[in-house]
């Protein structure tokens, strides 16, 4: 199965409809896009998905990380340790 948004082949069935065999929902394991079998073809078909909303590898590589991941305390302490051990504070470093 191909993801209509990012064209990854790493997509699969997420769930059948909980009742009534009405639809199936699919998920892309690369870009988290989900879509339903009953949606219009320009949502389901990778060739017809609006190019403005398509995701390419380049677009994904430039995506913002929100919120930024905080520096762990351990890392912050190590950094500070080096700062003092190497006398960087004296050099204004």
């Amino acid at each position: 199965m191909i993801c209509p948004r990012c064209d990854s082949k790493n997509a699969n069935l997420l769930i059948p409809s909980p009742v009534g065999n009405e639809w199936e929902m699919y998920i892309c394991n690369e870009c988290n896009f989900t879509w339903r079998s009953t949606e219009p073809e320009n949502i389901r078909n990778p060739k017809m998905y609006d190019s403005k909303f398509k995701l390419t590898k380049e677009k994904i590589s430039k995506m913002m990380v929100n919120p930024p991941i905080a520096t762990s305390r351990k890392q912050a302490l190590n950094k500070r340790g080096r700062f003092f051990q190497n006398n960087l504070w004296k050099e204004g470093g």
């Binding site: 997420l14 909980p18 009742v19 009405e22 639809w23 988290n32 989900t34 403005k52 909303f53 913002m64």
Partner: protein
């Protein structure tokens, strides 16, 4: 208050002709969003919509519960025709001078059914894509509860907030904590310690806590204590199953889980309150560990698009009042604040001017409030005699009091709202202050300009005419 749960409030809406039941089966897409947009278009008396059968799903869905001034008035226990300005000042009366401490229940209907294995969110909630290019199905109206990991016993620092949440699996979600949101502070502290952040997500609540969850309170103020003050009675809470979090006892569904530390995956886009799609970003993941719910739970959710939609009612007067109170604390001349446009992107403040330039000073104070700093972009200041909720009056002030060379100021390189499509880069913006107040000394005054005085008994006459119209 004569309601304690979403179901009580839906009964109240129905008694007042403000709830429409959709009994025919509907398709998740596009019927739900189309109907929600149509309901909003009904104006002051737009009803809530209860979808009794969504194809392929088990449970019901309700939309547009807060989505009209009539429903907003019923939430506050007021007559449905109460004006916006009167609703603002009614809220002002109840906005706590002293908060009311909550109470804890031992049991509540939200614990009727408990799911801790084989979790499948789609079996509980009729999920749907809201706008065509959304990345998936969203929870857009839930109360998200977290605690400060460094001060877990500080009740006020426990946060209840509404954030967009994409469903990215049967038991997995992605959430959007923007860096200025309280939940982002909790997450930062958890990630510094490389620990997961416990989270509870309450869906289908009585309308006051959803309203407070959308209100920009100070970091250590409790949404539950404010909700108690607005309701005039202690707010009823119950403990979550898997953490020490306090959740609203009247909820239809409680999802419990953890935000995974230092992990991000693709989320979005999502059709936002700005009327545009947000970008796609790497955002935090939630792993769901448990769901508790009432029998036959009702999923409550929002439809967002170009304003006005339901979310605009949910963030209109509470945002206005919160900013009003913060301004008033140091500038008592401020008479009212209208921060109803795109969550306060445009804000109108009415004030008496203590001295020349005071209007501009009020605007600068607004730009340093927690909400105004990122959100407010265009600030209009008018005299205290101008009703900031009456756009015709505001336009009159702009038309006649503003000399652009003197009264318009642009401030560059300020914090902005990342979802504002004009912010550049996302999260930074310039600001404009338009001072449309009448000049007072030492600002030079045009000796020939005299505003026509208001006729004293106009209000009396309005009441008389309204009565005659009803006959």
């Amino acid at each position: 208050m004569n309601y304690h749960s979403l179901r009580d409030f839906l009964d109240l809406l129905e008694q007042n002709g403000q709830l429409v039941r959709i009994t025919d089966p509907v398709m998740p897409e596009p019927d739900i969003s189309a109907a929600a947009q149509a309901a909003i278009n009904c104006g002051h008396y737009a009803p809530a919509l209860l979808f009794e059968k969504v194809k392929g799903y088990v449970n019901r869905l309700v939309m547009n519960v807060h989505g009209s001034w009539a429903n907003h008035a019923l939430m506050l226990g007021l007559p449905m025709d109460t004006t916006i300005k009167d609703q603002f000042f009614e809220l002002d009366k109840r906005w706590p001078g002293k908060v009311i401490k909550p109470t804890w229940l031992k049991d509540a209907p939200c614990k009727e059914i408990k799911i801790t294995s084989n979790i499948n969110l789609f079996e509980v909630l009729p999920l749907y894509r809201s706008n065509k290019y959304d990345g998936g199905c969203y929870l857009s109206k839930a109360c998200v509860i977290t605690r400060d990991p460094e001060e877990p016993d500080h009740f006020g620092k426990q946060n209840v907030g509404t954030y967009r949440i994409q469903v990215t699996g049967k038991d997995r979600l992605n959430i959007q904590p923007l860096v200025f949101h309280d939940i982002a502070i909790h997450l930062r502290k958890a990630e510094e310690q490389n620990k997961p952040l416990p989270v509870a997500i309450a869906i289908g609540n009585e309308p006051i806590i959803t309203y407070m969850s959308s209100t920009p309170l100070e970091y250590d103020e409790s949404e539950y204590e404010y909700a108690g003050a607005l309701r005039g009675e202690p707010y009823q809470l119950i403990k979550a199953e898997t953490s020490d979090l306090d959740v609203p006892s009247g909820a239809e569904v409680i999802i419990e889980g953890e935000i995974l530390p230092r992990k991000r995956s693709i989320e979005g886009p999502y059709g936002e309150f700005t009327g545009g799609y947000s970008g796609t970003r790497f955002q935090p993941e939630i792993k769901i560990h448990a769901i508790t719910h009432r029998a036959n739970p009702i999923f409550e959710n929002l439809y967002l698009s170009i304003p006005w939609t339901e979310v605009d009612y949910l963030i209109a007067l509470n945002t206005s009042l919160s900013v009003y109170r913060q301004l008033k604390a140091s500038m008592p001349e401020v008479a009212a604040v209208n921060a109803m446009y795109v969550h306060g992107t445009v804000e109108i403040v009415s004030t008496k001017c203590r001295m020349g330039g005071y209007g501009k000073a009020v605007a600068m104070r607004l730009l340093s409030t927690p909400h105004g700093m990122p959100y407010a972009k265009i600030i209009i200041v008018v005299d205290e005699s101008v009703d900031p909720f009456n756009i015709n009056q505001v336009m009159w002030a702009l038309s006649t009091q503003v000399n652009p060379a003197k009264h318009i100021s642009i401030i560059h390189n300020c914090p902005g709202m990342p979802l504002d499509p004009s912010s550049d880069p996302p999260g930074m913006s310039s600001k404009v202050i338009i001072d449309a107040t009448t000049p007072v000394p030492p600002e030079p005054i045009n000796e020939d300009a005299h505003t026509i005085e208001l006729i004293e008994n106009t209000d009396e006459w309005m009441q008389k005419i309204k009565k005659l119209m009803r006959k």
